[in-house]
């Protein structure tokens, strides 16, 4: 047997005897000392001092009730009223029936009558009580979240179902609280900061629900669930939290969101009810004007629509309802722009719902994990298309595909992507990978090492959505990338906003210094195009040249380029 386990099984538990009569203390010490480590106290004050000193190691207290000064009832009251001590069981020593009843009502675990029973009976009674309380301690330890002291999710769900069972007619609100980009906060300010924040939120939640007969738990590291009787003013919970943590929130990017499913339908499974609260919570993600949302009819319809899309995906893949569109990218460095490459973008032509925007279905598939199958479909289809055009026109039009951090982190990703290219007969120079800036924020060393491997193999790496993440200049110089792809929000107002233009010029200068090319996407107007060209941007993508188009329609751009003999 493991030495540690064995020592734990055979260690002597600590018992405290509190009695003002020395003879009584000595008799109990005689009875207990073969099995327990015994500590003695001859009055209430000494007892309390020793209890506090031994609070983590004391297994039980045997307490005389009638003592001069601080008596046993007072000691029992102090122990029961102290959250740090009340887990220690107390057995009272008494000869009075009325005192037995009173002390049991006050929280005593048991009593030992005076004069004492035979030693075996006393030992058995103490042993049973210790065993019972230790079992309770183990159960308690598994029902609470260690960091916040709230329940853990399993216990919370169990407790919520018991509440439903006993109070079937009480309207209950299911509430989800979530912290935006919590992992980024952890990265920026350290884990200790994140933990402190979670504890503070946990404390405010507990403080708020305590007198409202609600329960709460932490889930998924940075989220909280609350189940409480319906209230017309749920925002009070939100305000209680934000008031409490406002001092910590110097970072404007740090936001808390709250989703409420009010008077949740009890016919629904509990998890489903909290899914609805989460749905409401997610509806304000990225919306900087709102932080609280209630699940309503509109959301219900939206949810039903989402569920339908999730359910239809498998069939859609089989029936080739997904189509890859290509948006051309034009090199604008010379006198005349010319087609340099394309970005592969997914579209869904649903037989009943018509053309569905990727903005509607991609978040759903990201959530249910099916996005990887869709990504793979796009990678393969794009590679096949590059090969087909190369064969048909004799020129290679490199196509870029999106790769998420989850894809990069998946073991075997590099083999998978090189395998696809090999199957289609094209090389890495004809195939580019777009990785978002935010992909580098967590486990950046690992991501960098994988991207380095891809570059060594000859892939071109574009940093997508540049300017939306948190890259520092220092970090930028160490990232393995070839192209910076400016987020479209830089481009949108460039012809009207001097500051945006200066920002783009600055980024282009930095890119030149780091020997990177710059792509601007979302270019729609001639003025934008002209300014970006003057600023030194290399490549343009956007409606100014073309929206994303099906492969057949894209071929006209290839033919044009062929005609220009670039």
């Amino acid at each position: 047997m493991n030495e540690f386990v064995e020592s734990r099984l055979h260690f002597k538990r600590k018992v405290m005897v509190v009695d003002d009569e020395e003879i009584n203390r000595k008799i109990l010490e005689k009875i207990l000392s073969p099995e327990y480590e015994v500590i003695l106290a001859e009055n209430g004050d000494e007892a309390m001092a020793l209890v506090r000193e031994n609070k983590d190691t004391l297994s039980i207290i045997l307490l005389d009730l009638l003592m001069p000064g601080t008596d046993g009832f007072s000691v029992l009251g102090m122990i029961q009223g102290d959250v740090e001590l009340k887990h220690i069981p107390v057995i009272v020593l008494t000869s009075e029936t009325t005192a037995e009843v009173q002390s049991l009502k006050m929280g005593a675990a048991d009593f030992i009558p005076k004069p004492y029973n035979v030693p075996e009976v006393i030992l058995a009674r103490i042993g049973k009580t210790i065993q019972l309380y230790e079992s309770i301690d183990i159960v308690s330890a598994t029902q609470y979240d260690e960091l916040t002291g709230l329940y853990n999710k399993d216990y919370f769900m169990e407790y919520a179902s018991v509440i439903d069972q006993y109070y079937p007619d009480t309207g209950m609100d299911a509430i989800v609280l979530d912290i935006n980009r919590f992992h980024v906060l952890n990265e920026l300010y350290g884990r200790a900061f994140g933990d402190r924040l979670l504890k503070m939120i946990g404390n405010s939640v507990r403080g708020y629900i305590m007198d409202k007969k609600g329960i709460a738990c932490r889930y998924n590291a940075d989220g909280f669930l609350v189940y409480m009787p319906h209230t017309e003013s749920p925002e009070k919970l939100f305000l209680a939290i934000t008031d409490h943590i406002s001092g910590e929130l110097n970072d404007a990017r740090m936001r808390i969101r709250m989703g409420i499913y009010p008077e949740a339908d009890k016919k629904l499974d509990l998890h489903k009810r909290f899914d609805r609260a989460l749905f409401a919570c997610n509806s304000v993600k990225g919306d900087y004007s709102r932080q609280i949302a209630c699940y309503d009819t509109e959301m219900h319809e939206q949810e039903a629509y989402n569920e339908r899309l999730a359910g239809d995906m498998e069939k859609a893949l089989g029936e080739r309802q997904f189509i890859v569109y290509y948006q051309p990218k034009f090199n604008i460095q010379g006198d005349e722009p010319y087609l340099s490459s394309a970005e592969a973008l997914i579209r869904w032509k649903h037989p009943e719902l018509g053309m569905i925007s990727p903005g509607k279905f991609i978040p759903i598939f990201e959530e249910n994990g099916m996005i990887r199958r869709l990504d793979r479909f796009v990678w393969r289809e794009a590679a096949r298309q590059v090969a087909e055009w190369k064969d048909k026109y004799g020129i290679a039009v490199p196509v870029s595909v999106n790769v998420s951090r989850v894809d990069l982190m998946k073991p075997g990703f590099v083999d998978e992507i090189t395998g696809i290219l090999k199957d289609c007969g094209i090389g890495p120079k004809e195939y580019m990978l777009e990785v978002t800036e935010s992909a580098y924020t967590e486990d950046s060393d690992r991501i960098i090492s994988i991207v380095n491997e891809l570059r060594t193999l000859g892939f071109t790496i574009e940093m997508d959505d540049f300017g939306t993440g948190y890259s520092s200049l220092n970090m930028l110089s160490s990232l393995p990338i070839d192209v910076l792809k400016l987020d479209m929000r830089f481009v949108r107002d460039i012809h009207e906003n001097e500051k945006d233009l200066r920002m783009v010029e600055l980024i282009v200068d930095i890119a030149k210094y780091l020997n990177l090319k710059v792509v601007a996407e979302g270019v729609e107007k001639k003025e934008q195009y002209a300014l970006l060209k003057d600023a030194g941007v290399h490549i343009i993508q956007g409606f100014y040249f073309s929206r994303p188009v099906p492969d057949g329609e894209f071929e006209k751009f290839i033919e044009e380029r062929k005609g220009k003999r670039v």
């Binding site: 003002d20 009569e21 020395e22 003879i23 009584n24 000595k26 008799i27 005689k30 009875i31 009638l66 001069p68 000869s95 005076k114 004069p115 004492y116 035979v118 030693p119």
Partner: protein, 112 residues
């Protein structure tokens, strides 16, 4: 000198008292003198005579507990009777009972 035989002769349930001490005679006998400390009986006598019935009850109750655990039956019986009257705050003449207490105490006190 106090012995188990003498205690038994005086009416103590020594078998029971020893039982609480795992039959350890010398341990039991080391505790017994504490139950015969004259000062405590004198203290109880004084408190009752002074009419301090609250303190008298606490003292009597404490003595009763010790006598019970050591099974000093004759002294336990009389102290127990006093304790219950004091608990009930009985307005009675305690002197016959105090006299009886000293009477029972004498042979035990002489052993010290």
């Amino acid at each position: 000198m106090i012995t188990v035989e003498k205690l038994k002769e005086l009416g103590c349930n020594t078998e029971e008292g020893l039982g609480r001490c795992f039959g350890d005679e010398s341990f039991y006998l080391s505790l017994v003198p504490g139950a015969f400390e004259k000062e405590r009986y004198e203290n109880l006598d004084r408190l009752i005579k002074e009419g301090n019935m609250g303190d008298a009850f606490e003292e009597a109750h404490a003595m009763k507990g010790v006598l019970a655990n050591l099974s000093i039956t004759p002294l336990f019986d009389v102290v127990s009777e006093i304790t219950e009257l004091l608990r009930a705050k009985a307005e009675t003449d305690y002197s016959p009972l105090i006299e009886k207490m000293w009477e029972v105490y004498t042979p035990f006190g002489e052993m010290l």
